[in-house]
């Protein structure tokens, strides 16, 4: 546990916690971006250069954009960006959903064998990483790609306006 690790962990968790607590969605989204950058800093600290840059490019660069875009498009007025606390009736589903995700994650972390013995650090070059991804792990890469494409198509279908014959949403 070095000082740098503690600092990065604190910043990542603190920004995420504040992002959750804030009632202003745009500020939350921006803080979430900062939290993702903290995760990237952690990868960098662990020596996974490629992963860190990919994290910044994808999460800080693209996903936070999409989140902000969604927030602005769904809440046209700036003041509606601040959501009031949800009713108590929604507390139970929220707790169940959050708790199950937490359970799965903790189970995965506890269940996976973590080697803590002193090993020489793996210095992967980008070339080796690419060969690994395209060789032994090509199948999983293709599956992830297909999954993301399906998700993208689903998003387009949901977002696309209905056929010209359809009645407009009375709002």
């Amino acid at each position: 546990m070095s000082l740098a690790f503690l600092l990065i962990a604190f910043l990542t968790v603190a920004t995420a916690a504040v992002a959750m607590a804030l009632r202003n969605l745009v500020r939350s989204a921006l803080l979430l971006g900062a939290s993702w950058a903290g995760v990237a800093a952690f990868y960098l600290w662990a020596g996974a250069e490629f992963l860190a840059f990919a994290q910044v490019l994808v999460y800080v660069g693209a996903i936070s954009m999409v989140v902000l875009f969604a927030v602005l498009l769904t809440r046209p007025s700036r003041d509606e960006g601040a959501v009031s606390p949800a009713s108590a009736g929604r507390l139970l589903p929220a707790l169940i959903a959050g708790g199950s995700v937490l359970g799965v994650l903790v189970g995965a972390i506890v269940g996976s064998p973590l080697r803590t013995a002193a090993k020489p650090p793996l210095a992967f070059t980008v070339r080796e990483l690419g060969l690994q991804l395209m060789g032994p792990h090509a199948a999983s890469l293709v599956v992830v790609g297909a999954l993301l494409t399906v998700a993208l198509l689903g998003a387009v279908v949901i977002a696309a306006p209905g056929r010209p014959g359809d009645r407009e949403d009375p709002r």
């Binding site: 745009v26 500020r27 921006l30 971006g33 250069e49 490629f50 840059f53 990919a54 910044v56 490019l57 800080v60 660069g61 693209a62 936070s64 954009m65 999409v66 902000l68 875009f69 602005l72 700036r78 070059t125 980008v126 070339r127």
Partner: protein, 408 residues
């Protein structure tokens, strides 16, 4: 800057590194790397800040020349009173920006309003770290340098969004939305256009990509990537996407003066306003530098006989040429509408960039073809580039022209 076996290079070539080493040689060994890095940062910042000042003047002069007017020519040199083609204009602008009042709107989000220009500038400076300015001048040698460059650059539009949203101004908010749409649209062709380079070079390291472009065909023609069919198409796509990424005309929709007053800049004044401009020019320089590195041979000389000119001189010449094209385009093309902007990205640039990936793959697979087959190689690759361009170009402009002006 990186420790190459620099002693074999000619004196002019290793002069900047030698100067830096002379400055830090008195320090103990353990501190020297830190001092060296700091000196590199200072050098990059001073060079590009000076370039920024001169570029603002150059842009105004070039725009003036194109529009048949003199441009700024009144600012005299301080205490001398000599007017030298407006050369002191950047100085006057700088003093004006520093002494202007800094206004923050009452309804603004003060923290984000302050943070936006700072973040924008910080991210755009980060991108300078991995560009090889010369044979021995690479600030940070990274294995995944190209990825680093685009990761650092991706966060700049986030800062523009912050500026637009924090200002609490409807024009600024519209600009923020436009900036987001523009980023999401143009990030894709920008990244797809550089994938062929990575594919052919087999490396994400900028220094290696430049080294590989350092040979000459028949001893005369440089083997830069732009002189191959896929490289030519890739460079054009990269350049268009770079224009959009750096918010330059004709893609300057976030600040479109005629529609949005000044977009995300509306509520900024004084030095924060200047910081935005600095970041815009820095982004322009960084993207041009990356374009030079990936497609135009980096610091390589165009013909072997001219290799005696130091490599950073060639890099600077290519960089300035590209920057001139940026300004030339600004003076020539009218601004796009937002629907034209997104249509150009999704229906034209992205498909072309995807096809270009196949062209590059074909180019790699056919690298052994010789004699008449080399001719066939060029023919096939050329068709793969030109065919989709013509087909998509026709579909893009179908039903849109020619326009008839009835009341004009």
């Amino acid at each position: 800057m990186s420790a190459h076996p620099a002693n074999a290079l000619p004196l002019l070539e290793r002069l900047p590194v030698a100067l830096r080493d002379a400055c830090t040689s008195w320090l103990p060994e353990s501190w020297r790397w830190l001092a060296n890095s700091l000196l590199s940062i200072v050098a990059i910042f001073v060079v590009f800040a000076t370039l920024f000042a001169l570029l603002t003047l150059a842009e105004r002069k070039i725009l003036g020349r194109v529009q048949n007017r003199p441009g700024p020519n009144r600012a005299p040199l301080p205490f001398l009173g000599i007017r030298t083609y407006g050369l002191a204009q950047p100085l006057a602008d700088g003093i004006k920006m520093l002494t202007k009042e800094d206004i923050v709107p009452r309804g603004a989000d003060r923290v984000l309003h302050f943070l936006a220009p700072v973040a924008l500038l910080a991210f755009s400076i980060l991108t300078f770290a991995v560009i090889p300015y010369g044979r021995a001048l690479l600030p940070v040698e990274l294995d995944a340098a190209v990825l680093y460059f685009f990761a650092a650059g991706a966060a700049t539009e986030l800062a523009i969004f912050m500026a637009g949203w924090a200002s609490r101004n409807k024009y600024s908010l519209l600009a923020a939305m436009r900036a987001l749409a523009q980023l999401i649209s143009y990030e894709l062709p920008l990244l797809l256009s550089i994938v062929p380079v990575v594919l052919v070079a087999g490396s994400l390291s900028t220094s290696e990509i430049v080294e590989q472009q350092g040979t000459w065909l028949f001893g005369v023609f440089p083997q830069w990537h732009v002189f191959t069919p896929w490289g030519f198409a890739g460079f054009l796509i990269f350049f268009v996407a770079a224009l959009a990424e750096s918010n330059r005309s004709p893609f300057d929709l976030p600040e479109a003066e005629s529609e949005l007053i000044a977009g995300h800049l509306t509520e900024y004044s004084g030095f924060k306003y200047a910081l935005f401009f600095m970041a815009e020019y820095f982004g322009m320089c960084a993207l041009s530098g990356m374009g030079v590195t990936l497609f135009l041979g980096g610091w390589q000389a165009p013909i072997p006989a001219l290799a005696f000119i130091p490599s950073y001189g060639w890099f600077a010449a290519k960089l300035l040429a590209l920057l001139f094209v940026f300004m030339w385009i600004r003076a020539t093309f009218p601004r796009l509408r937002i629907d034209q902007l997104t249509r150009l990205a999704w229906k034209f640039l992205v498909p072309l960039a995807l096809v270009n990936l196949f062209t590059a793959a074909f180019w790699v697979l056919s690298s052994g073809w010789a004699g008449p087959l080399a001719f066939a190689r060029w023919l096939v690759a050329g068709t793969l580039v030109l065919g989709p361009f013509l087909v998509l170009g026709r579909r893009l402009s179908a039903g849109l022209g020619p326009r008839t002006y009835r009341y004009a």
